[in-house]
Amino acid sequence: MSTTSNPSKRDGSNADAAVAKPSRRTFLKGSAATTAGLVVGFHVPFFNKQAMAQGIAAAPISPEVNAWVVVQPNDKVIIRIARSEMGQGTLTGLAQMVAEELECDWEKVSTEYPTPGQNLARQRVWGDFSTGGSRGIRGSQDNVRKGGATARMMLVQAAADEWKVPVAECSASKSVITHGPSKRTTTYGKVANAAAKLTPPTDVKFKDPKDWTLIGKRLARLDTVEKTTGKQIYGMDLKLPGMLNAAVKDAPVFGSKVKSVDDTAVLKRPGVKKVLRVGDTAVAVVADTWWRAKTALDALKIEWEDGPNAKASSASFAEVLKAGLDAKDAVVGHSVGDARAAIAASARKIEAVYSYPHQNHVCMETMNATVKWTPDKCEVWVPTQNGEAALAATAEAAGLPPAKCEVYKIHLGGGFGRRGATDFIRQAVAIAKQMPGTPVKMIWSREEDMAQGRFHPVTQCKMVAGLDDKGEITGLSMRISGQSILAYVAPQNIRDGRDPVMFQGLNAPGPEASIGYTFPTFLVDHAMRNPHVPAGFWRGVNLNQNAIYLESFLDEIAHATNQDPLALRRKLMSKHPKHLAVLNAVAEKVGYDKPAPAGVFRGLAQTMGFGSYVAACAEVSVSKEGVLKIHRIVAATDCGNAVNPQQIEAQVEGSFVYGLGAALYQECTVKDGRIEQTNFADYPSLKLAEMPKVETVILASGGFWGGVGEPTIAVAAPAVLNAIFAATGKRIRDLPLKNHSLKT
């Protein structure tokens, strides 16, 4: 599947029935039928050839105007999207931005993914494919707008050339080009061929934001109809001709190895083709169906060499992290003045220790990849957040140069950072390599997915504030002790022992993850302590716990000094107008100046990360028996330019599901070196019945592009924890909440 087109079937009218036509239809849908718009000069032979071999008519081929834009003779526009769609709406948002500069008819827009191999072959014409850190839009807005603007200029130039008139006399709107003086018109589809032959202009100017007609509009997503009819194909749904299925089990104790496998009985089971080792840590069963592979794997007798980590536990990690709270080997993240001295000299000290657990991403679609390996080519079909990293991992695992490998990105059933990792891709390639010429679809069971996460890092934090005799803060120090994500995923980015990602939301004033308060003195430092459990980027990353630590502790200071939590924050935020603006917007919308309804209590939080400023106010009640109800959340986001406000609202609403599920329930505990939780039964998620009303305020202050997929998660937990304190007087410093009684 080289491309994924999403024809804009907004009314469902041309969505036909898909009933009980098994493999062939599924393959069609998943591959060749969606290559419409595949262009001349692209090196993607597999699907075209294969499609033709199967007697499937080749898709109509139209020339690209440039790398971003294909215009078909019927004026349909296909916009190429380099980033991955995993639910966050980036497919629609990025298409809006290209279309804005292209001046095309939005009703005729569809999208497709170029492949990482094509990007490599074309000197990375689409730039970075990685989709993480809420960078989909903010990391490519200039590239995609330039792509749209360049294509528009070429199309208009082609029309002017045809009419033999000065290009300055021509203009474009909704895919129609008009020559002003003569009122002649033509359409993009009619001049696309000629435009494609022109040399792209070098002087490209963007539209003035005040003239935007698509950016900032509450447009419907381009991929909704397929997702309401079961037609959207995910990695798990692929079916290739002759394909086999694999189930896999990796060492439950991270870092340990397979000792022995007794496959005698399993190999006799119907449909089982092969039992094989994957490296020295995992075992896979390949069978005709996944259910047979999975049940055979469950029946397999595997012995493990558990190694040095077999005794490790969450409790043993906690001891190590606790010692780190006072250790000497810490590196400074951000320091203002001499906070330690100021605190030592203060009239009063407040101190508290917080902690945050390991958590799994739990994408609804478990990890999977489909691979076909031959001695001179390796192809991978995979839901990935990082197509280029997937290609590199494929080449390495396949033992082939990247030019002989290709990755076809498939729509993701959730990503949240997990699918930025390539561990499962390497594994699937290693399996397929042992089945040359046969496509193999590897799917992880939910149990495997829980056991083999790339977990939210575990940390503890000691917060200390010094106060003068009037209760004013003289210094604030934060000692973070615990796990570094970079130490696991990109150790080369750690310089002098410093992992800069540890300090998200606490950085010095600047455009990224900066603290929103000014204290007379301030210190945050980090004592790195890495358990053997692999860490990964987990939606919101380190902003999550850093916001809990700082926002909860400020609430503690406010209560300890008889100040209103909003008033205290405002006092500390006067030099941080953007941070303050979102907090003020929340206060105004929630009606902070008036009391909450009887029995309902409020909590506030604010932070900045992923390029955006966010704040929230939670309204909760807690019964005498300790039952928490979150009634209402008011949240504000300043992401600079708001590309699609209704999708930003969807991300903000969703952030509370993700963040509150994590705060209330989610914790991966380690016993005997392995993760104890196995499925949703012992690792619950937030359910619909628990979901509060969410009111979103979008402050698009303009002038910058901020991310929206992640930052709001970080304010979900502290806003609720602060509201719980207001309701009960109980200060929760360790998550998840399920481990605490709120009974009063």
Binding site: R10, D11, G12, S13, D16, A17, A18, V19, A20, P22, M86, G87, G89, R218, L219, A220, R221, D223, T224, E226, T228, T229, G230, K231, I233, M236, D237, K239, N245, P270, G271, T289, W290, W291, T295, C363, M364, E365, H411, L412, G413, I443, R446, Q646, E649, A650, E653, G654, V657, Y658, G661, N679, F680, A681, S685, K687, L688, M691, K693, E695
Partner: protein
């Protein structure tokens, strides 16, 4: 050869004893709209209808299904995505990643059929499907929109277009599920 009555067709299938209906649908019959999420009836991604009732197919042995029992999957719900629930879903742009949405829609269509005058409490009780992206508030709002539309249809009102149903999400600032 055993048979299943799926989406109005009687279909042959082959599966080992104990194979869940989910995997027969996905691997034997090619109906991949029904998803695997947990395998233990916790998440609801595998929800289908059996004689109109929502059933989690990941724990239902295919062999337990009689050929007289009518199984409906997302592919067979409507020929072109025009059930009022699907239209409301499209109008309110409910799905994000979409992986759980087939199950959500099958649960919701069973609910509105069983309880035409449903309340928020009914939605809370019936919609226990897990969504990790966090579409819950739009799910709730869309169920209310669809239930209203179905009630209007009973009085002979002309069905609304998706774009008319979608006014709420595309034009107003907030989706307030309980008020929709």
């Amino acid at each position: 050869m055993p048979k299943l009555n799926v989406n109005g067709k009687l279909l042959d299938y082959q599966a080992d004893e104990g194979t869940p209906l989910l995997w027969v649908l996905r691997e034997q019959l090619g109906l991949t709209g029904t998803k695997y999420g947990c395998g233990i009836a916790q998440c609801g991604a595998c929800t289908v209808h059996v004689d109109g009732v929502a059933v989690r197919s990941c724990v239902m042995p295919a062999a337990a299904m009689k050929a007289t029992q009518k199984i409906t999957t997302i592919e067979g719900l409507t020929p072109n995505g025009t059930h009022p629930i699907q239209k409301a879903w499209q109008a309110l742009d409910v799905p994000q990643c979409g992986f759980c949405q087939s199950g959500m829609i099958m649960a919701a269509t069973a609910l509105v059929k069983e309880k035409p005058n449903l309340t928020d409490k009914d939605i809370d009780d019936a919609m226990t499907n897990i969504c990790r992206c966090g579409t819950y508030n739009r799910v709730r709002a869309a169920i209310h929109v669809a239930a209203k539309e179905m009630a209007a249809a009973k009085t002979g009102a002309k069905p609304k277009k998706v774009s008319e149903l979608g006014k709420s999400v595309l034009d107003i600032q907030h989706i307030d599920g309980s008020q929709a």
